[in-house]
Amino acid sequence: MTEAAAGPLKRTPLYILHRELGARLVPFAGYEMPVQYPTGILAEHAQTRSAAGLFDVSHMGQVRLTAKPGHSAAKALEAIVPGDITGLQPGQQRYTQLTNETGGILDDLMTTSTGDHLLLVLNAACKDADLAHLRKHLAASCEIEPMFSRGLLALQGPQAAQALARLAPAVATMKFMTGTYVMIDGVECYVTRSGYTGGDGYEISTPADAADTIARKLLAQPEVKPIGLGARDSLRLEAGLCLYGHDIDTTTTPVEAGLLWSIGKERRTQGGFPGASVIQKQIAEGAPRKRVGLLPEGKAIAREGAEIALAGKIVGKVTSGGFAPTLGRAIAMGYVERAQSANGTKVELVVRGKPVPAEIAPMPFVKHAYYRG
């Protein structure tokens, strides 16, 4: 995601808490956000993989869609995303993308049906443009309610369930990609069992004025420590998850990005979303390029922008790369031409002008640990 544009930085409801915790605050998507706390990214990463970590993701864009009389919000949303939204049962959550006319990705998002509404979670850097896009396409059929001041807390890790269940027992039996209203500390919150680490966990949407108190209640649990955006990035990279603006953008299609699983079966054949003809053609014939995992040899780290070469010819570029603390080694992802995208293919990553041998490898790099009941 891009860093802040001009203008004063916005703050989330947890800003004071971040300061108290000694966070290093940096501009991110127009917000002043914690990149790390005093323990550092490696310790925060390990904390989230072994116990539980609390992330402030209140900068993300929460939007509520409510159908106008005689309309269906799910049907309306399907006009601008390729995901199967009409098939969402109340309490179910789904990952999808806003696509453009060429099949590119304007943003990726989570959608949850409450039965009465659809709740969307959009990327912070895209949320204003997304809101305009939603208004342009959905205003006739839906009430569109931005809830950009609400709190959004992600509690992630193998001990997230036991920690959150102490405050809200009902969350213990929730399954991955479901959502429900629960009371936490006497306040109604909307909780989904989802996240961006590849591990078990929850995202908790709170009223703005309750976010600080609930965050402190969670941090008071023995399993939980605060985690910044630095570890959020290394965790999602290990999980092979895309970061908008880096691994996916308006020039990449969901097929190229390896996100075909998120396109509903019927929607693949029936279309009816922006860029459907491009995406359907790629499904039928194969995309010209593919997002792949990359394991560089040795210790050098190939970061975003490093070229991927095969037999002296540039075949693609790294879109995310870094150190994987769980594995103790460098990992990366990037796009290569489809003909060269098979797992095990030997390539070279150009790091500071020098070729580093690497192998195309399956993702995730660290096995997902979602709770499916």
Partner: protein
């Protein structure tokens, strides 16, 4: 022998005509957890200000510049297995490389400890 500092947050400690070079406590704090250090080859001739090493934290890669001109006579091979030394002991075990200075007068252009401390304070 006193230690000299650059405004790129490197330190150089002279013993005879060989300077040991590393990054400062302030620099390692700014970088965060160091996960990889690429040190220069022994025998390489370097000019003051030339990029000679790279330090990678979880978040980013940063160049390390030669604070003085000369020849690299030793590099800290231990950093390959324990890059965290840069965080734990930036002015001790976390040193990067040693240079035999070709012109000791270059040190005069660097900051002493008091000047460097004032420089860091000025950065807020």
């Amino acid at each position: 022998m006193s230690v000299r500092y650059t405004n790129e947050h490197e330190w150089v400690r002279l013993e005879g005509d060989v300077g040991t070079i590393g990054i400062t406590t302030y620099a390692q704090e700014q970088l965060g957890d160091v996960v990889f250090v690429e040190v220069p080859a022994v025998g390489r001739k370097v000019a003051k200000g030339e990029s000679v090493a790279v330090v990678e934290s979880v978040k980013a890669a940063s160049d390390i510049y030669a604070p003085v001109s000369g020849e690299v006579v030793e590099a800290n091979a231990a950093l390959a297995d324990s890059p965290g030394d840069v965080n734990a002991e930036p002015t001790g075990k976390g040193w990067f490389f040693k240079i035999r200075l070709s012109d000791k007068a270059e040190l005069d252009g660097l900051m002493d400890e008091a000047a460097y401390d004032a420089f860091v304070k000025s950065l807020g």
